[in-house]
Structure formats: structure tokens, C-alpha cells
């Protein structure tokens, strides 16, 4: 395609991307460098149906004047990024100095909100992504080998988890693991512990969310792999059968290399999706045991009565940076291959 026509094809999409993705990211970035102005508090008499007392309120007259001069707030530089609720540089160095062992240090750092969320997000990412790839591939292979007559309904059944709304899917599982739900109650009997609760145990909650993640994302990998499998050429396969290659050898030496670019694509998308894990935490009401970076942003924006724009913006930017870091190895590899292919 000539560059000119490519430009005009790409133009509408590019414009929409700049308007609806690029600019908001820039505005988020700017916002993350600002904090609210110092609040000017004054003591006043407050009366309500339960009586009167003297306490403080924000002085609106004084505040509105400052706000008019500097509507964005107080410039804070990287202040929000390094405060305790984010990278916590002061706390981390303090912990490093006072901790006697590396274990103690890690424990203390893991107690900080941002690192707590980061640990869960990474754990989720690192476990779910390979599981999704593997499971999706196995399902695609098995379905590909099955008689054409029943393949249609089976494919439909397999992509069902993706069709079900994420929140509904997680709620169904949430009710099943309830102390009185089918899984929760049976686990109690099985472990002989009437106080066992999947929802209050951190480890069990993590496992539940991870299993849910694999269940929910596998169909996507499956669909893409299944489509890719249809393009695998038959001649080399037949040749290898004649040469006496086992099923495993055929998959390893012929099928996998052929669909490798697709695997990279699915890995990229899954990594990005999984790094932004959010719905299951809400669906499972798992805020107590599992927090992700996306959940932190949500928490800053809606769970507080006072909205923390600066905090949320800083976490958003760091999430974007995090995704870029995670994607770098995969992208580098693709780039290298692209160069060598040329």
C-alpha cells in the first residue's frame, strides 16, 4: 500500500486515538504532578438535629480565591509518586535500614499499599498468562482433532466463559465459594474445619481469582489458536507421520513453529489484560485480600468521599509504565524476528 493511501486509511482511527486515548493520558500525566491546595480551615459553630458544637470547615472564600489563581492545584512534582501510598521511597529506605533480614524487609515493603497491589497484579499476570496460553492451546488441539459433527456445539461451549459478562461469571463463583455455597461448604467438610472460609483466607482468595482468570481468558486464546491451526499445512504433517514422528513431536516441530507469531500476539494481549485485572476483585468482594493496581485507581476515585485525582493519576501513569516494561521483552523479540526475516 502506498504511504499516502495508508495515511488516509489510518487517519480516522488515528484521530480518534489521539482524541480519546492520547489526550486523556497526557492530561492524566499532568494531573499526577499536582496536589490540592492547602486547605484553609476555620472554626465555626455547627448545628444539627443532635445538637450544636464548634468544629472546623473549609473556608470557601479564601479557598476559591486560590483556586481561581491556580485551578490545577499545587505543583507537587514527583511528590505523589514517591509518597507512602505509591512508591514510598522514604519508607522503603527506612525499612531497609532498620530491617535485620531480607525477609523482614520484604515483609514490611509488602505491607505498603502500592507494593501490595503490585505483588498481586504480577502474581496474577505471571500465573494466569502461561496457564491461559497452555490451556487455550490444548483445547484448540483437542477440538481440532475431534469429529466435525460435534465440533460446532463444543466450540460454542468452550467460548461460553468469554460470552458471560465478567461480573456475572465472578458472582456465580463467588456464591459457590460462600461458606454455605456448594464449594465452600464441601471444602469445610473435606478439611474438617467449620470455620474455613475461602473468602476470608488470603491464599484461597488469590487462588480463586486466578482460577477464575484462567477460566475467563482461556477461550480467547483458544479461538485464536484454533483459527491458526486451520492454516497449518497438511503436507509436512503427513510427511512427518510417514517418517514416524509421534503426535508430540509433530506438535513441537511443525505446528508450534507455524503458529508461533499468533502465540506472541495472544501472549501480548493476555499480559496487557491481566496486568489490568480488576473485575474479579469487585465481583468477589476481594478488596480485603487482593488489591490490583487498577483497583487502587478505582479506590482513589470512587471509594473515598474525597476524590484523590492526583493519587489516581499517578497510579494510572505507573500502570502504563508497568505494562510497557512487561511488554518490552516480547516486543523486542518480535522486532528482532521481523528484522531477521527481512
Amino acid at each position: 500500500m502506498p504511504n499516502r493511501s495508508f495515511f488516509w486509511f489510518f487517519f480516522p482511527a488515528g484521530l480518534a486515538m489521539i482524541l480519546f486515548i492520547g489526550l486523556p493520558i497526557i492530561s492524566t500525566g499532568i494531573q499526577s504532578f499536582y496536589a490540592q491546595h492547602d486547605q484553609i480551615l476555620i472554626e465555626v459553630k455547627k448545628c444539627d438535629p443532635f445538637g450544636c458544637k464548634t468544629s472546623v470547615v473549609v473556608d470557601q472564600e479564601a479557598t476559591s480565591k486560590i483556586k481561581e489563581e491556580k485551578p490545577l492545584g499545587k505543583f507537587n512534582g514527583f511528590g505523589t509518586y514517591i509518597d507512602r501510598n505509591h512508591l514510598a521511597s522514604d519508607q522503603v529506605s527506612e525499612f531497609w535500614n532498620e530491617s535485620k533480614s531480607v525477609g523482614e524487609f520484604i515483609g514490611k515493603v509488602g505491607n505498603l499499599p502500592f507494593y501490595k497491589a503490585l505483588v498481586f497484579t504480577l502474581t496474577y499476570c505471571v500465573i494466569v498468562t502461561p496457564c491461559v496460553l497452555l490451556l487455550g492451546f490444548i483445547i484448540a488441539l483437542s477440538l481440532n482433532a475431534i469429529s466435525r459433527k460435534i465440533r460446532g456445539p463444543l466450540i460454542f461451549g468452550t467460548i461460553l466463559p468469554m460470552i458471560v459478562t465478567p461480573l456475572v461469571g465472578s458472582l456465580v463463583l463467588f456464591w459457590m465459594i460462600d461458606a454455605e455455597g456448594i464449594i465452600g461448604a464441601n471444602l469445610q467438610i473435606l478439611m474438617d474445619d467449620p470455620y474455613l472460609s475461602v473468602k476470608s483466607s488470603k491464599a484461597l482468595t488469590w487462588i480463586t481469582i486466578i482460577i477464575y482468570g484462567v477460566w475467563h481468558h482461556s477461550p480467547f486464546a483458544f479461538v485464536v489458536f484454533y483459527a491458526a491451526l486451520q492454516t497449518v499445512p497438511q503436507e509436512p504433517l503427513e510427511a512427518s507421520i510417514i517418517d514416524g514422528a509421534s503426535r508430540f513431536q509433530r506438535v513441537k516441530h511443525i505446528v508450534l513453529p507455524h503458529i508461533y507469531p499468533v502465540v506472541t500476539f495472544v501472549a501480548l494481549i493476555s499480559l496487557m489484560d491481566n496486568f489490568r485485572v480488576f473485575e474479579p476483585i469487585i465481583g468477589f468482594s476481594a478488596e480485603g485480600s487482593a488489591q490490583s493496581l487498577s483497583w487502587l485507581i478505582y479506590d482513589n476515585l470512587v471509594n473515598e468521599e474525597v476524590i484523590l485525582f492526583g493519587s489516581a493519576a499517578a497510579t494510572s501513569i505507573m500502570t502504563i509504565v508497568g505494562i510497557s516494561i512487561i511488554l518490552t521483552p516480547v516486543l523486542l523479540r518480535t522486532w528482532k524476528e521481523f528484522r531477521t526475516n527481512r
Binding site: 496536589a35 490540592q36 491546595h37 492547602d38 486547605q39 480551615l41 472554626e43 465555626v44 459553630k45 455547627k46 448545628c47 444539627d48 438535629p49 443532635f50 445538637g51 468544629s55 472546623v56 470547615v57 473549609v58 470557601q60 479557598t63 476559591s64 499545587k74 507537587n76 505523589t80 509518597d83 507512602r84 501510598n85 519508607q91 505491607n111 499499599p113 463467588f174 460462600d178 461458606a179 465452600g184 467449620p194 470455620y195 474455613l196 472460609s197 473468602k199 476470608s200 483466607s201 488470603k202 468477589f284 468482594s285 476481594a286 478488596e287 480485603g288 485480600s289 488489591q291 479506590d299 470512587v302 471509594n303 473515598e304 468521599e305 474525597v306 476524590i307 484523590l308 492526583g310 493519587s311
Partner: protein, 406 residues
């Protein structure tokens, strides 16, 4: 006899109130939480809308919408029905309008005690009161020879006895869902211990002390007597537990009693359900509960005509004796002419015992938010009480600095 008298009074005043209400212009758009009492109130306001436009949004997500919707100019809503905590962000951002002029002109039926005044300015008009108090199953308590508990220590003893008798596995329930609900339980218990959240009137936190530790330990004791999934249970979930007969003692909002005592569900449980006073804790004499009011506020970024129309309609509802008589069991109305029924026991006892209102401070929302996420690990047994409180203070300080309070 009393009822007849009251009814007669309404007939008299009812007509007066209606006659007062002929709004000619303006538009009214209300944002409110979603529970029966508020629906009744809004319906009553609608009665006198006259020729004004009338729209209403009832949403459980009202807190998330309010600030952005009222920041717009002109704002989406002309009326925001708020409570003592949710009015704070509106005042912090200067989004609501003082209504002294309107009260003077159109607020005839409103009682002095209904007015929420800040430095003499009327910022809201309250119409109902709310609190969290104890609900008990009289049949279960009687069977085990337990008197109605008056302190949380007695609640613990009673629940342990019920559990030991093999009656129920998890005899106690309260909304301990991580986040806002859990923080609210901490606030109640800490106030019951006589604690203050901030150092002498400032914004420096003041919870990492003996009272804070005692509060956490009591929450932990109660949590151990609750369904092990307590960290995921909100008010609605524990209501379901109660209706299934799994719970004998519960701490719940007064405003939730309506649906708990209706005809649906097991009649035996409903009959044995009794609403009693909130409990005290740690030898204190004020209840471990906070008093709440619900009231209406007027958006600042709306025209005077809209504000006037909105105020007149809302004031009609907030002073309607007819409404409080008809919906007497939906809420503890602060409106003149309200005759308290058995469902009002909790709030009335709380007021009598000198319960404190939820602190209406500009920085309290940040403290509430920090509590909701940082004390979870203590309840899960992964952290000491001191460490949890230290974390709360640290999280609060960081947020308060970002918001300019420190």
C-alpha cells in the same frame, strides 16, 4: 384515641400544606440514595411540583455521582439528598447553597431542629435520623437464659454461650465488608471507647493509642463470632443471614428494619426479632454507635428559580405530617408530628444514651477511607493491632497531605 387525634390533625394541616404549594416555574431534579423512606419523601415532594419540571434519580451509587454532577455549571441536579458524611465533600468543594432566605420565606412547617447550620448558614434540612443498633432474637436468647445484651462485652459472652450450646455456628453479624462498612464499624466502636479521631481540633490523626487497640480487639472478638466470610458482608448480606435464621444478635442500621420485619420470610423469625438500644463498650456510657441524619441540600450551580422551586417541593415533604403518619415505620422522621413506633427504638434509645453524631469534618472521609483498607490485615490475623493502626495513620497522612489538609 391518639391515632384518631393525629389523623384529625393531618386533615387540618394537610390542606394547609397543599395550598401552600403552587410552584409556577423552575425545574426540580433530585439525586438521592435508594431506600424506601427516601422514595416516600420524593413522592411527597412530587405532590406539590405544580407546573415545575420534576425529575429524580434514586441510586445506591449516589456518592460517586454527587460531586461531579454538582460541579458542572449548571449542575445536573438541583437537589441532593445527603447525610452527615456525604454533605462534607459538597461543602469542601463549595457545591451547595445556603438556604436561609428560602427557609424564611417558605419553610413554615420546618422545625428549628431540622436545620443543619454551619456558622449560621442553613446548608441542609434534615428529615430523618438513623443509627446502627442491636437486633436480637428473643427466642434464642430466652432458650439459653441470656438477658438482652447492653454492652458489647455482653454481646460477646452471649454469642459465645449460644455457640457453645450448639445452637448456631456464627451467632453474631455486622456489616464488616472491607471498605466503607468496616471503617464505619471501627468509627462506632472507637467513639464508644471515647476516642477522638484527630488531635485537638486539627487534622493530625489520633487513633494509634490504647483506645484504638481496644477497639480493634473488640472488632476481632466479634468477627470471630461471625460468619467467616464477614469481610465480604454488607448490610444487605447480613440481613439475608438474619432472615435465614443463622444469627441471634446483629448490629444493623435502623433504616433497614422495615424490610426485615415485613411479612416476607419466616414468620417465626420475624416474630422473635426485637430491636433494642445500641450497645456500649469498654465501660463507657455513650453507645458505640454514631447518629446520622438524612437531609436535602440545594445545588449552588443552579438558577435561583430552580432553587426556589426545589426548596418549596422538598420543604413540603420535609414538613409533611401526612407523610410521616403514613410512612411511620419506614424511618425515624425528624418531622413534626411523628409518632415513634417499635421500629424507632434503636434511634430513640441512642439519642437518650447520648450517642454522638458521625463527625462532620472536612478530613473525616480520608480517615474513613484509610480505616476501611488498612485494618483488614489485623482482622485476618496477619498483623498486630498497633501495626494496623500505624498503617492507618500513615495512609491517612499521605492522603491528607495530597489533599492539602496537612
Amino acid at each position: 384515641m391518639k391515632k384518631i387525634l393525629v389523623t384529625l390533625l393531618f386533615l387540618l394541616f394537610g390542606t394547609v400544606a397543599n395550598a401552600d404549594c403552587n410552584i409556577k416555574s423552575g425545574s426540580i431534579n433530585i439525586l438521592a440514595n435508594d431506600f424506601p423512606a427516601l422514595r416516600t419523601l420524593v413522592e411527597t415532594a412530587k405532590e406539590c411540583k405544580g407546573s415545575a419540571d420534576f425529575k429524580v434519580t434514586h441510586s445506591a451509587e449516589h456518592n460517586k455521582i454527587a460531586v461531579p454532577a454538582l460541579t458542572a455549571n449548571p449542575s445536573e441536579f438541583s437537589v441532593r439528598v445527603a447525610a452527615n458524611s456525604s454533605i462534607v465533600p459538597l461543602m469542601n468543594a463549595d457545591l451547595i447553597r445556603p438556604m436561609n432566605d428560602l427557609v424564611k420565606k417558605y419553610g413554615k412547617g420546618i422545625q428549628e431542629s431540622q436545620l443543619i447550620t454551619i456558622d449560621g448558614k442553613v446548608m441542609a434540612v434534615a428529615f430523618m435520623a438513623n443509627t446502627q443498633h442491636l437486633y436480637v432474637r428473643t427466642d434464642v436468647l430466652q432458650e439459653n437464659g441470656i438477658a438482652i445484651p447492653k454492652t458489647y462485652e455482653e454481646v460477646v459472652a452471649a454469642a459465645e454461650k449460644i455457640r457453645a450450646a450448639g445452637k448456631m455456628k456464627y451467632p453474631y453479624a455486622a456489616a464488616y465488608k472491607a471498605g466503607w462498612n468496616l471503617a464505619e464499624e471501627f468509627v462506632n466502636m472507637y467513639i464508644g471507647h471515647g476516642g477522638e479521631f484527630f488531635k485537638d481540633g486539627g487534622a493530625q490523626p489520633n487513633i494509634n493509642n490504647a483506645k484504638g487497640v481496644a477497639t480493634l480487639n473488640m472488632l476481632k472478638k466479634l468477627a470471630d463470632l461471625s460468619n467467616p466470610d464477614y469481610l465480604t458482608h454488607d448490610s444487605e448480606a447480613i440481613k439475608v443471614e438474619w432472615e435465614s435464621g443463622n444469627v441471634a444478635i446483629m448490629t444493623l442500621w435502623a433504616s433497614r428494619s422495615g424490610t426485615l420485619l415485613d411479612d416476607e420470610g419466616d414468620a417465626k423469625i420475624t416474630a422473635a426479632t426485637k430491636l433494642v438500644a445500641p450497645a456500649t463498650v469498654g465501660g463507657g456510657n455513650i453507645p458505640a454507635a454514631t447518629l446520622w441524619w438524612d437531609g436535602f441540600t440545594l445545588a449552588k450551580n443552579r438558577s435561583d428559580a430552580d432553587a426556589e422551586a426545589s426548596f418549596r417541593a422538598m420543604a413540603h415533604a420535609a414538613s409533611s405530617k401526612e407523610m410521616v403518619a403514613k410512612a411511620a415505620d419506614q424511618a425515624v422522621w425528624l418531622v413534626e408530628g411523628f409518632v415513634p413506633g417499635p421500629k424507632s427504638v434503636g434511634v430513640i434509645e441512642a439519642v437518650k444514651m447520648g450517642a454522638k453524631p458521625y463527625p462532620m469534618l472536612p478530613q473525616m472521609g480520608l480517615m474513613h477511607g484509610a480505616l476501611g483498607s488498612e485494618i483488614v490485615e489485623f482482622l485476618q490475623g496477619n498483623e498486630s493491632a498497633e501495626q494496623a493502626l500505624k498503617d492507618v495513620e500513615a495512609a491517612y497522612i499521605t492522603k491528607a497531605k495530597e489533599q492539602g489538609f496537612l
